[in-house]
């Protein structure tokens, strides 16, 4: 595995964690309390 592959993997991981956190936050929002 080259340095490029590792770098690409880290970039992909970063974005996925970001998306996962966004999904988690949306899911945790209590929509009945007008948090949005």
């Amino acid at each position: 595995m080259s340095f490029d592959d590792i770098f690409n993997f880290v970039v992909i991981l970063f974005f996925f964690i970001l998306f996962a956190y966004a999904g988690y936050r949306i899911n945790k929002t209590d929509f009945s309390k007008d948090e949005i």
């Binding site: 992909i12 974005f15 998306f19 996962a20 999904g23 949306i26 929509f31 009945s32």
Partner: protein, 503 residues
């Protein structure tokens, strides 16, 4: 006339489905509330008629419509039949539920048909814009279906969460499409494949992959994009939850398979990412399912884990892997819908959905308990059931893909053994636990004819698909083969066109 004939060669079922939707809409608005059940009759008759219409589609060759924006071949026909079967079962499942709710009966069936049209178009979409329109047709109908019981707070919450997350995921996917368009200047998938064959891997392509896979990940409820699934499955009406966990997922898998095999096939880092997502999805889904006390949430996490197993085929990206995925999805349709049918029957009798409420149910109705047990054992992958053969066939494909995939196989096997624990929890409640509240009540479990038919057909399919797996595996192979063969002739065709233009 010739143009219409060409379109019908590829899109006949979808054209008929569009006509059926219009008929159901007209019936909904013209019939009185008491006669709305006629929409159910129209929907179910129409869907069966459309299923028969697949006989008239040419299976051996590939047909396209709308200038290559939609293609019909063995792979897409197989998935469209699966989606249609899922829709038929869902309509049958929802009859009693919708009648009990007693409001907007016609609209419910029309929305199911609209979502089915979107799902069927998604499987054969060969253009990014077509793909996006199909996803939106599927998603918007699903949002409305989730909030169908509008006076129920949980249903409202489910609809709103699904709407926000669905809209965000579609936006993310669309952003990924824009990168693909930016790199290649094309929206047609065949043209993109050709353009990418002369293109070095760049950060733009990687970012397009990230966004597209994240978008599909939300639809498949793959970890880490799964957070919506348990709440939505718990809050949505049971037939809608069944529809989302089966039909919506099958359509998303069909689109992702075509994307991965055609556009992102030759880049090893992409398949490595899918492998990591697959492992995390199955492990997290199984781990989180163990602690669940509500059967709907348990099935939500179970469907997350099942998505992880199916993704294994995409991680190895061989013809055997893809055909293993297709076979697994065929079996998954029946075993999962059978389980949801049983949950719907129990909920319609009792209004309860906790696992403890199933205590001693086998003493009250042994046949019902047996049907639910068969479906759960199949989901767990216990031998003789079709779930076992589906897992066996998929794992065999991983084994033959090479030694580098051995860790994947070991993790999948550990997960399979671990998953048995929480499926057996429900079976133990029915057979071993002392008689619960519901089972103590007098009177037999009365099951409506439509629910009975779904349960019997799905359970029989779950048993016999395993024993007579040969023809179904051949179908899966044919589907996977057509996917591989597609790529080359299309590229040759484009090459011929470009060489002609140069001359």
């Amino acid at each position: 006339m010739n143009l219409l004939f060409d379109i019908a060669n590829a899109l006949l079922p979808e054209m008929l489905l569009a006509i059926l939707i219009i008929i159901c809409l007209v019936l909904t608005f013209s019939l009185k509330d008491d006669d709305q059940n006629l929409v159910f009759v129209a929907a179910i008759t129409g869907l069966i008629f459309i299923l028969v219409s697949f006989v008239f589609l040419p299976h051996s060759q590939e047909n396209s419509a709308f200038f290559g924006a939609f293609i019909s071949n063995s792979f897409t026909i197989l998935f469209r039949i699966l989606i249609l079967l899922g829709a038929i079962f869902t309509v049958l499942l929802s009859k009693r539920y919708v009648c009990n709710f007693g409001n907007s009966i016609g609209e419910f069936y029309t929305l199911i048909l609209m979502a089915t049209l979107g799902a069927m178009l998604l499987t054969g979409a060969n253009d990014l814009i077509m793909l996006f329109v199909a996803i939106e047709t599927l998603s918007i109908s699903s949002f409305a279906l989730c909030g169908y019981t509008k006076l129920d707070k949980l249903s409202n919450e489910a609809a709103l969460k699904y709407l926000v997350i669905g809209a965000a995921s579609t936006a993310v996917m669309l952003y990924g499409f824009s990168f693909l368009y930016g790199i290649t200047g094309q929206t047609n998938i065949d043209d993109i494949v050709y353009a990418l064959s002369h293109y070095e891997v760049s950060m733009a392509l990687i970012i397009s992959f990230i966004f597209v896979v994240a978008g599909f990940g939300y639809k498949l409820s793959a970890v880490p994009f799964h957070t919506w699934a348990p709440d939505v499955y718990q809050g949505a009406p049971i037939p809608v939850a069944a529809y989302l966990s089966v039909v919506s997922k099958i359509a998303a898998f069909a689109a992702l398979i075509r994307f991965m095999t055609l556009i992102y096939a030759d880049i090893s880092i992409f398949t490595a990412v899918i492998a990591v997502i697959s492992v995390i999805t199955m492990t997290a889904g199984n781990l989180m399912a163990v602690g669940q006390k509500n059967i709907k949430r348990l099935l939500a996490y179970s469907s997350i884990a099942q998505a992880g197993y199916v993704l294994l085929g995409l991680a190895v990206l061989t013809t055997e892997g893809i055909s293993g995925m297709i076979f697994y999805l065929i079996v998954y349709l029946f075993m999962n819908l059978g389980t949801w049918a049983a949950v719907q029957i129990f909920a319609s009798q009792t209004g309860m959905d906790s696992i403890n409420d199933y205590n001693g149910l086998a003493h009250k109705n042994r046949y019902f308990a047996l049907c639910l047990s068969i479906c759960l054992l199949s989901l767990a992958g216990i031998p003789i059931t079709s779930g076992f053969f589906a897992k066996f066939y998929l794992f065999k494909a991983i084994l033959f893909a090479g030694y580098e995939f051995m860790p994947l196989l070991i993790i999948a096997l550990i997960n399979t053994v671990f998953a048995v624990f929480y499926y057996l929890k429900v079976i133990r409640a029915m057979y071993v636990r002392p008689v619960g509240k519901f089972a103590k009540q007098n009177g037999e479990v009365k099951i409506s004819l439509s629910l009975q038919s779904v349960l019997i057909v799905t359970v029989l399919a779950t048993v016999f698909l395993g024993i007579f797996a040969g023809p179904v595996i051949d179908l899966s192979k044919a589907g996977a083969d057509s996917l591989r063969i597609n790529k080359k002739p299309q590229i040759e065709k484009i090459t011929n066109i470009t060489s002609c233009l140069r001359q």
